[in-house]
Amino acid sequence: MINLDQQLTKNKPISNMSQFFYGVKSALPITLGYLPLGFAYGVLARNAGLNLLETVMMSILCFAGSGQFIAISLFSNNVAAGAIISTVFLVNLRHLLFSASFVPHLRCFKPGILALITAEMTDETFAVAINHYNNHEANLYYHFGLNITAHLSWILASLLGGLAGNLIGNPEDLGFNFALPAMFITLLVLQLNSKKTVLVAGLAALLSVSIAILWPGNWNVILATVIAATLGVLLEPWTSKF
């Protein structure tokens, strides 16, 4: 376990148990981020009118930080279920790319296993796993150790937040209203790895605000994302000269 990294690079056989616990260990930085975020989700969900069972059930079935926050925030603004689910879908579209990027690493496994492994694919578990697979062979025990640990910490944090939800008066007084923007800031900063991406992000931000002002409703995110990404591709002959 201690020298697992060394063993892995030397291509010695490693027990499945060691792989699993290496996955658990790799998930620990993720759980640090999930605890305050899941707690904030739990508090906000209870304040939006979900009971404890519903609050925890959503974390078990969805395991999607931003998706859950968006759903709760729209629900508390009395947005219709269809519009909420469509927006959550849009927010999750980025996972199409993540999922596609796993193809070269995980294509050797059976589709049934892949269907199971992707159920717990979040921005964070994806980022950690894809980084690991850059210099290690894919391993199901490692992957499930990582996924299950991250998911359990998310469920636990939601439960604790859900329990505290009724005790804490107004979550805004404790700064919980900034948990979601702070998470988006981190994820966006991690995405901005080229001038092209910075340009697309800037366009998306400008379009999103402009559309929200001109056309209230929740279409700004969908439209701004699709237009900015399309412009990103169309402008590539020009932007690649930077």
Binding site: L97, A179, M183
Partner: protein, 105 residues
Amino acid sequence: MDKQILIIILGSAIVTYLPRMLPLVALSRTELPKPFLRWLSYIPAAVLAALLAPEILMPNDKLVFTGNPYLIAAIPSVIIALITRSMGLTILIGMVTMVLVQRLM
């Protein structure tokens, strides 16, 4: 259990699972066209910026640049995120700044 909430939870679960599962399972046997991959590669940054900008600049659905606590809390958060690239620390600093700004304003 509230029927409306149940529909939202189950619907969200399905639209969360499908984008995670379908590409890997379906494409583990095929190649994607290059322009589509380029387009997909811009989606993460674009959707995050599109979500974040109104959240920070339009707290009550109106564009506010001065005395906006979200905009103020965003400044140290961006700096911490750029330096540490840590989500936990960025959330912590952002929330603490938010509390301080709301108390002082």
